[in-house]
Symmetry: C2
Subunit: 171 residues, 2 copies
DNA sequence: TAAGATTGAACGGTCAATCTTC
DNA sequence: GAAGATTGACCGTTCAATCTTA
């Protein structure tokens, strides 16, 4: 919940949210927060954070099981310094290794280890089951379609904005 | 993005997400993450974090501009130890003060200061404008309704689950 | 000079332990 | 013993500075 009061709309540029928008906003904030916390806690039962998991997924989806740090940063929306710390921890835990990049000596690859691959293959079904149990299993097809439409729109809007281009530079 | 691959459904208990679910899930993860980061950054331009903001809102909505720590914890879904640290910082910054509770000597109130009230009144319109620009201004009425329905459902589902009752104890 | 990437310090969140009062 | 709340240590994220190669 992050807005103050409901007020009547005054024209083409309303300063407040309508009642419907306000209740939608509060539902979104509460629901998405609870869902994120829940998935994080469930993931911890397998010894992973959601960041760990997402990186394992991204790497496992590439043919060579490897991705440049900068590409991984863009794919996951993680700031590059955060990703660097993250990969350091995952290297310590045996999920990935770093390899230098032949064509560009500034570049580094994050490469999935066989242990990392085993881990993602083992854990993924549990995670999918959670997403199904807590989200898609509760929604009808129209809601699934709406969910996609809403957040595709939000994403496009933000990617087109100057503020986002600015934030790109950190990735 | 947090699921592995798309596979055909096998019966009543599908182990994977359908293509439609998968694309909805990825859109949600990307869009909600970008939106949260954007709102956080915009809020920082006013010298507040989103947590600061939410607490100021909650306190400003009560008649006496005060709330017990435990109530505030439940309202914001913040773990009680996190809330305690948070209020310590906000007290340092002059937004709130702590007051002991007459009827229950274990209890503490977080109380909005006049500076805190001025701050929320000043900042709220900017925040509402951002939520409008980045979310509701891009959606049609049916999408707003769907957003509420989806996350009300998610919230109800999680609140009813044993895992959530367990997490309650930290609040 | 810009791009790719890393580093360390500071900050915020989490966890377990603690303290007081009911 | 349980409820309300706090504390300090640890861990992850952010920010600014840095380093290397293009």
């Amino acid at each position: 919940m992050c807005t103050v009061v409901v007020m009547p709309m005054t024209g083409t540029e309303p300063r407040w949210l309508t009642e419907g928008e306000q209740s939608a906003w509060r539902a979104y904030l509460a629901g998405s927060r609870l869902l994120a916390h829940h998935l994080e806690r469930e993931m911890q039962r397998h010894g992973l954070s959601m960041s760990d998991y997402e990186i394992l997924v991204r790497l496992s989806e590439t043919p060579e099981h490897r991705l440049r740090m900068s590409e991984l940063s863009r794919a996951t929306l993680l700031e590059k310094s955060r990703l660097s710390h993250q990969i350091t921890r995952m290297e310590r835990d045996g999920f990935v290794v770093r390899e230098s990049c032949p064509g560009d000596r500034r570049g580094q690859f994050a490469v999935l280890t066989s242990f990392g691959l085993e881990t993602i293959n083992r854990v993924a079904p549990f995670h999918v089951a959670e997403v199904r149990e807590r989200l898609f299993g509760l929604l009808d097809p129209a809601q699934v379609t709406a969910l996609r439409g809403i957040f595709d729109t939000v994403e496009s809007g933000l990617r087109a904005s100057p503020a986002c281009v600015e934030a790109e530079s950190a990735r």
